[in-house]
Every structure is written in C-alpha cells, then in structure tokens.
Amino acid sequence: MQISGAQIIVQSLSAENVEYVFGYPGGAVLEIYDAIYQLHKFEHILTRHEQAAVHAADAYARASGKVGVALVTSGPGATNAITGIATAYSDSIPLVVISGQVGSPLIGTDAFQEIDMVGISRPCVKHNFLVTDINELAVTIKKAFQIAKSGRPGPVVVDVAKDVTQTMAKFSYPQEDVVIRSYQPVLQGHIGQIKKAIQMLSAAKRPLVYFGGGVVLGNATQELRNFVRTLNIPCVSTLMGLGAYSADEREFLGMLGMHGTYEANLAMQKADVVLAIGARFDDRVVSSPEKFLNSPKKIIHIDIDPSSISKRVKADVPIVGDVKNVLTEMLSIWQKQEVSFHAHTLEKWWKTIEEWRVQDCLRLPETDDKELILPQFVIQTLAKITNNEAIVTSDVGQHQMFTAQYYPFKEPRQWLNSGGLGTMGVGLPYAMGAYLAHNRQKDVFCVTGEGSIQMNIQELSTCSQYKLPVKILCLNNGYLGMVRQWQEIYYSNRESQTYFESLPDFVKIAEAYGHVGMRITKASDVEGALREAIALKDRLVFMDFVTDRKQNVFPMVGNGKGLDEMVLPIHMRDNKS
C-alpha cells in the first residue's frame, strides 16, 4: 500500500515513539498537519511562535532524556526556529526539527516563503538534510534521530520539500540503525589512557573533579557519584552539570566560574590534578586559561567529542569516550588495583577547602529594609518549600545565576536553562516542555525576569489552551539586571537602555490569558505566596515579585581574570583570606 509523504512523516515519528510534537503550521506543511489530524499518532502542541516550539521540544528532551521534536513551516517559520535550534546546539540537546520547504520545482527561485534552511541552519545543527525524493524520506528521519541522540547529541534539521509530502510511496521504517559509514562516534575510552589517568590522579595532592553537562547528557550521574564518593574527592560543577551531584552532599563545592562559589573557584584554581568530565573549560568557567594554568596542574579530560578536548585548555591525558563507560572503567581499575591517595595529603586538602567553605559566600546580603524582597531569598524559599526537588527552568540574567547559586539541585534534569547560548525567552517554553515530559505529574517552576519573560510571553496562551499549570516566578527588578550589573561595574554606572519605564502589569497580563496573577511586594509574603501558588494545582500562576532593584550577583570573576580573583560579596570583602 502506498501512503503520502506527509503520512510517512507521521508514521515515522510514531515509529520513533514520539509522544509530543511542538509546532506551528503553514503552507509548506499543510499536508503534514492534515496527516497529523487524520492519523492522530502523537499529541501536537501548537505554540504561539516557532521559537517557543523549538524551545519546548528542547526542554522535553532535557527533562526526559529522549529526542525532542518540532515541526515548522518554510521561510519565516524556519527562520523563527533558528534561535531555538542554536540554543539546543550550544547545549548539545538531541532534537529533530522538521521544516517544510517549498516544492522541489520552486527551490532556488526565491519562491514565496522560500529560505535556504539547510544553509541558514548549517552553523547551528549537528547535521541537516534536504529531502526532495520521497524514497529517501523515512530513512532520512531514521538517520536524523540516530544522529541527534548518539555521540555528542545535537539538533538535526530535516527540510522536506512540499511535493514530497504530497507524493505517494510505500512505507517501511528501518528497524535497525542505518549504517552511516562516515559517522561512528567513539564510545569506549582508550584503556592505556585510562590507566595513565588513574596513575596521575592517585599521585595528586589536591585532586578535583570538574564536571559538566556531559555527565547529565550521558546519563552518567550514578557513575559520577560512585566515583567521587569512593575516592572521597571534592567536585565542582558547571552551570550545565548542576544536579548531577547532589548539592547537599559534602563532596560538592558548588558551581564554578564567573558566578561560581568561593570554594569551587579556589579549589579549581589551586588543584594540582583536575579530572574534567563532560565539561569543556568554557570561557564562563575559565575566563583566562593562562591565569588558570598559573598554578601548576595536570589535566585529565574525558569527553565524547574529541574537539572539546584541548580546545581552550590543553589536556595532559585526553580520554575520548562515553563518560558513563569511561567512569565505570576507571572506578573498577581504581578498586581492583587498590590505588589510593596519601591519606594525610587528601586530609590537608579537605581542611583547606573547609576553611574556604565556612566563609559562606552565598550568605544573604544585609538590608536596612527588612521587607525588601531579595531575589536570592525568593529562590531560597522556593528551595525550602519544594525540598530541593522541584523541576526549575530559568531565563537568562541575574535571576538565572541566583537560581543556580541558591537552589541546591539534587538530581540531574531538574534544572533547565540555556547555558551555552544564553537565550532570553527560554524560561516559559522550557517549563511547558518539562511539564509535558513529566506527564503533567510534577510541579514546574519558571524563574524569570521582567525582561526575559517578555521575549516569549505569548506562550501564556499556549499554556491556557493545553492546561499547563506551571508556576512563573518573575523576579522583577525593573531592570535588565545582568546588563545593569555590568554597566555598574564596567561602565561607571551608565545605565544605557536597561531601565524599563513601561513595564506592563504582569498580573493583568496573566489574567488576560486566563491565569492567576499575584504581585508580591513584601519579604514576609514570599513564602505564603509560593505556598498559595503551589496549592493552586490546576492553574498557571504568574508571581510578580517586586524585588530589590540593585542586587548584584557575587562572587564574580571579571573577564580575563583568574578564578582566584573574584569580586566577593560585601560580607567577605574585608576578611578575605
């Protein structure tokens, strides 16, 4: 029996066990939308903007570990999707984005709603395809899923010419993985290198594990935890790795980097052997590689992507492979060979670390006005009443860093934000995708700023249509806070275009979309408001917290500075050790 290309797409997605497709229709994908209507193989979520569709699919992937799927039309639909695709690309999120393309005879004629999607998305996809032959359609979708989720994951675009969706062909979806001769990721670490790494590590006086999003993506959390616990060594996390090691465990020193904790940054700077696991020495982590390497250290680097190794900081022992496999292997050799550190050197290292830790760099700042709401306090309170277990998404800015600092994440995939690209506007669509990924069973909180939320605020409409009762915490400081912070520090307080004089009434906006709006202006109301919002199980609640306008994020490592050159919070400024 022959079916249409559009039906092939729907059947293929169903064969991949896709539960949700996030998208927005248009001329080039009308046929596909008709097939979705008729076959009803998965739930389609109609967002209000293609960018949000891709973000929501991305969040679904981050929260579930499966591949997210988005569907957009040609031309403007495709270009609107680009920010979402680039965001997923920067954080290595597995995504398949199907975009409509004008009919093959029209390709290249500057046709109505034509854009070279393969060309325009090339720099921000793991791979992309243009399908102009119906016989290639099913196998291409198979390949797209395979490429998106294997090796270092990433977004894959499948651009499908409209006539292909209308042509009839026989459908058979490949059962087994398709062999792609030019694509074979290395999964096993080199055993010789692993042994070298163990030798180097065991000789360390000040060993440190530095892990990142690769541990989450590689589902290697358990392996990481076993490893760190068995060796009894300190560990620090990137923004993307938060939750891979539970923040309430003793071994965990917090996030490192530009807004990392005092103890995490100093430990990274002073360590003599750094074991980097699925982390890439990003410039927000190590702003200055020269200063980082100032204090003598050896670096062991595990990553599935060879190009991430020695890109910014040269590795002494590079190990290419899947982090889960490599960590398992390392631990088993460590235990078999009964390797260990010199007990007293490790003790000394821990003692130094504890001295840093007692400085309590994240202590809440003092205020004269006890009713002033500190953004940090809102996050702390959220953590307290959700027992550190909530699914939290954030946008980009100070509120994002406060969340990373003050919410002690316990589990991987609990924390969703745009780390690599730093995309304002992801917060709400991320909350939508995460809520669906958890089968509408878990509370999802979106921490945002009054700047960020306005980048995709139209999604409040999607939330009413599909009854997505997420909780929005808008830390409203009336500023593009993170920009203002930089202007204060680097531009002598010249607040160029960061003051929002015409902010909308968010409570009314929420209500206009059919949700509940709350405005909270007093610190003593924060906890009550949060509890009330959580109690409204089936309603989206928009909490507009009117916060202290001038809070800054500390510690802070300025551009080009060493990790030990932090600008410290006020309470640490005089008694700096």
């Binding site: 090339r122 001769r181 060879p306």
Partner: protein, 163 residues
C-alpha cells in the same frame, strides 16, 4: 605554518559547503582548495591548504572529523608527501619576448597550449612555490591572466587515505 589537509568525504551536495563553512565560522583561512570525486564515485577527496599553528590545525582536524559527511582527515605534513598544482598563464609575447618566454617555459617544463600573434598560454604543473617562482621570472607587465587550481596532495609511498 603551511599545512595541507586531505579530506575524504561523501560525494553529496552540501558536503563541500559544510567544510568551507566550518573554516569561515571558526575564523580559519583557506589558502587553496581543490576537490573532485575519486575512483569510488560516492566519495570525494578535497585538499585544503591553510596556514595555522599546530594547535589550530589540531582543532581544525577535529572539527572536520566531526562533520557527519567527512570520513577521514589527514594532515599530509605529518610525513612525506607530494603536491601538485596546475596553472594556466596567458603572457603577452611580442618580438624578442617570444623566444625568451618559450625558453623560460621549457625550463619550468611548461606546455604552450595556445598561441596567437601576441600571446602564449602556458600550462604548468608543480608545487605551488614552483609556480610562484615561474611568475616571478616573467617580466612585469607581460602577464595578462593567470588561473590556478588549488593544490592536490598525496602521501608518499605506502601511506594511503582510504575508507
């Protein structure tokens, strides 16, 4: 330092632009590039000449290997190799210049492939510095037009780039 990278990849539309796009996106320069299908027509081989330090070359090589359609990348500089480039050059040849240019062309083992009363068109192959040196020896003002392919390089002896 000058490096010659040899790339074996799928002979598919778009594959070449991915390679070129990678260079521009990461701010690396391509000095020359040549590409054509090989004996197995599903594959193409590309030779890229670039100037970069060793760390950059390592990154370029890794990034190229990451492209889904790239099968193998080899830095020919890592051991002995030969390279050739083809140049066609049209030279004004009037009066005594005719003999002079012919002699020079012979020295460089060039072939005259087109002749008019006023010009020779010469075909030359060799490593690109040899072609440069030929051009330097032509009196200024006589060169009307040149066209050069990129370099094509291959490892010496047993060294083979194959799937």
């Amino acid at each position: 330092m000058r490096h010659i990278l040899s790339i074996l990849m799928e002979n598919k539309s778009g594959a070449m632009s991915r390679v070129v796009g990678l260079f521009s996106a990461r701010n690396y320069n391509i000095d020359s590039l040549s590409v054509a299908p090989i004996e197995d027509p599903t594959l193409s081989r590309m030779t890229i000449v670039t100037n970069a330090d060793d760390d950059a070359i390592e990154q370029i090589t890794k990034q190229l290997n990451k492209l889904v359609e790239v099968i193998k990348v080899s830095d020919l500089n890592e051991s002995r190799y030969v390279e050739r480039e083809l140049m066609l050059v049209k030279i004004r040849t009037i009066g005594k210049d005719r003999d002079e240019i012919l002699r020079l062309s012979n020295i460089y083992r060039g072939h005259i492939i087109d002749v008019t009363e006023k010009s020779y068109t010469i075909e030359l192959t060799g490593a690109s510095d040899k072609l440069d040196s030929f051009l330097e020896n032509i009196p200024k003002g006589l060169i009307l037009e040149t066209v050069r392919t990129g370099a094509a390089g291959i490892g010496r002896g047993e060294r083979i780039l194959k799937i």
